[in-house]
Symmetry: C2
Subunit: 316 residues, 2 copies
C-alpha cells in the first residue's frame, strides 16, 4: 500500500490506475489510501466540462488536453459515465478520440463508471480527483455525460465549470431557461464553423449580460471553438486561467472547495449510515418498517422518522 501511494505520488501511471480502480470498486482499502494521500492533495485545479450529447464534449476535452500539454502542464481526465447500461457502446466510441494522448506519460485518462455505488458519483468522483491531484496533475478535466443529474453534480465538484453548446441543438434561450446560465463559469460554443453558431454566441452573451449578478461577480465569457481542428482552445485555456485567478483573488476558490468537501463528507456519512441500516439483524428496524409501508399500514414519513430516531440512539 505504501509503495502504491508512493509510486502514484511520483506519477507512475499504473499505480494511479490501480488507485482509481480501488475507488471504482469501493474497496475497503480506500479509507487508508485517502488518509495517506491527504497531505498531497489540494494543488490541482478541477475543471468540469458538460453539455448535451452531440455538442462535442470528448473532442473539445481532447483538444483542451493538447493545448494544456503544449504549455507543459500535467493533465488528468476523468470521463464520468453515470452508470448507464445503455450508453456503454457510444461512450467507448467517443473515448477513442482521446487516444491521441494515450502515450503521453504526463496525461492520465480514465473513464469512470459508478455502477453499484451507494450515492453514485457523489462520492466516487471526488476520490478519483484526489488520486489525480496527489499524482501531480495540475489540471483535472472532468467530462460528464450531459444528460441527467450529472451537470448539477459537476457544478458542485469543479472549481470551474465549462458549459459546451453547439448550433442546432436547440436555441440558447431554451438553454437559459433550463438553468445552464447558473452553472457555467465559461461558455464554449463548439462547431463554430457551422451555420447558426454566431447567433448562439450572440444570444448567450446577451443572456449573460442580462443575468442578475451581484457586484464583484465573475461574468462568464462566451467563446467559440472548432474542437475537431483545435481552433479556439488557447482562448479557452486563457479564460480558465483568468477564472482561476479571479477565484483566488475573491476567496471563491476556498468557498467552492469547502462546499465540495462538505458534499464529499456528507456522501460518505450517508453511505456509512445506509450500510448500518442494512446490516444483519435489522438494527434500526428498517426491514420491519418497510414491510409495514409496503402493506399500507404505515406511511413512509413516519417510517423514516422511526429510522432516524433509532439511528440517533444506537449505542456507541
Amino acid at each position: 500500500m505504501d509503495n502504491l501511494v508512493a509510486r502514484a505520488r511520483v506519477g507512475d501511471a499504473r499505480a494511479v490506475a490501480r488507485l482509481i480502480s480501488l475507488v471504482e470498486d469501493a474497496s475497503p482499502l480506500l479509507r487508508e489510501v485517502m488518509a495517506r494521500l491527504t497531505p498531497y492533495v489540494g494543488r490541482a485545479r478541477v475543471v468540469g466540462i458538460t453539455g448535451a450529447p452531440g455538442v462535442g464534449k470528448s473532442t473539445v476535452t481532447s483538444a483542451l488536453v493538447g493545448e494544456l500539454r503544449r504549455e507543459g502542464r500535467r493533465v488528468g481526465v476523468l470521463a464520468v459515465d453515470p452508470s448507464s447500461p445503455f450508453s456503454g457502446g457510444a461512450l467507448l466510441g467517443d473515448r477513442i478520440r482521446m487516444q491521441e494522448h494515450a502515450l503521453d506519460p504526463e496525461v492520465y485518462i480514465r473513464s469512470m463508471a459508478s455502477r453499484g455505488h451507494l450515492g453514485g458519483l457523489s462520492w466516487a468522483t471526488p476520490q478519483a480527483i484526489r488520486v489525480l491531484d496527489a499524482a501531480g496533475c495540475e489540471v483535472i478535466l472532468v467530462e460528464t455525460v450531459g444528460v441527467g443529474q450529472s451537470e448539477v453534480e459537476i457544478a458542485g465538484l469543479a472549481d470551474t465549470t465549462v458549459v459546451l453548446l453547439a448550433p442546432g441543438m436547440g436555441d440558447g434561450i431554451q438553454a437559459a431557461k433550463a438553468g445552464i446560465l447558473e452553472i457555467g463559469d465559461v461558455f464554449v460554443v463548439n462547431k463554430a464553423d457551422r451555420e447558426g453558431a454566431r447567433k448562439v454566441v450572440r444570444d448567450l452573451r446577451s443572456m449573460v449580460r442580462l443575468a442578475p449578478r451581484e457586484e464583484n461577480r465573475w461574468v462568464p465569457p462566451v467563446l467559440s471553438t472548432v474542437g475537431l481542428r483545435g481552433e479556439g482552445l488557447a482562448e479557452v485555456v486563457a479564460e480558465l486561467d483568468a477564472h482561476h485567478a479571479w477565484q483566488v483573488a475573491h476567496g471563491e476558490l476556498d468557498r467552492r472547495r469547502a462546499r465540495r468537501a462538505r458534499e464529499e463528507v456528507t456522501a460518505l456519512a450517508v453511505a456509512t449510515l445506509r450500510e448500518r441500516w442494512s446490516a444483519p439483524g435489522d438494527p434500526v428496524g428498517l426491514e420491519k418498517l418497510a414491510a409495514e409501508v409496503a402493506s399500507g399500514v404505515l406511511d413512509p414519513y413516519s417510517a423514516a422518522d422511526s429510522v432516524v430516531q433509532e439511528t440517533l440512539h444506537t449505542p456507541r
Copy 2:
C-alpha cells in the same frame, strides 16, 4: 387538505395534479398528504419503461396507454426527467406525442422533474406513484429517460420493468454486457419494421435463454412493436399481465414492493439527516470538518466518521 385528498381519491384530475406538484416542490405538506393516502395505496401495478434515447419510449408508452384504455383500465403515466438543464426542449417535444390521451379523464399524464431534490428521484417518484395509486390508477407507467442512473433506479421502483430496444442502436450483445439483461422483465424491440430488427430479437432471445437463471425464475419474453402504428402492443399488455400473475404466484410482488418501500424510507431518512447536518449552528460539526478536509489536514473518511458519531449522539 382533507378535501384535496378526497377529491384525488375519486380521480379528480386537478386534485391529482395538485398533489403531484406538492411532491415536486418537496412541500412540507407532503408528510400529512402521504399519511392520509396510506390506506388507499397498494393496488396499482407499477410498470417501468426504459431504454436508450431514440428507441421510441414516448411513442410506445403512448401506444401502451391506448391499449390499456381499450381494456377500460385507468392509467397513470409519469415521465421522469432526471433534472437535466439540457434535455428540456427535447423532452417537451416527446411529450407532445402523449397528447392524444390528454382529454381522456381516465388517463393521468405527468412529466416529473426532480430538480433540487436531495436524493433526486429516489424519493419523489415513489410519492408521485402513491398519489396515482390512491387516485385509482390500475396501471402506472413510469417512463425514464434512458441515460444516467435512472434505469437502475426504475428497476428498483417498478413491479415490472420493460426494456425497449430498437435496431441500429448498437448490437444486442453490447447491451447484454452493459447489464440490461438483469433489469428487464419484458424486452420490447421497437421499430420492428426496420432493417435489423429480427436480428436484435433473435440475439436477445438467445441471451435470455443463456442467462443463468435459478429454478422457478421468470424468463423474460422478447416482443416486437411498431409503436407509431400501435402494432404489437396487445402482446405487450398480455405479457405485463403474465408477469404480474407470475409475481403474485411466486411471492415476488411482495418482495419487490418491500424493497421499494425500503428504498423510499431510506431516501426520506437520508434527506432528514442531511437537513439536520446542514442546520444552523453546525450541529454535527460538518462545516468545520469540511473546512479541514478542504485544507488538507483531514481525510474525508475520518471526517465522515466524525459526522456519523456526532449523529449517533445527538440528544433527542
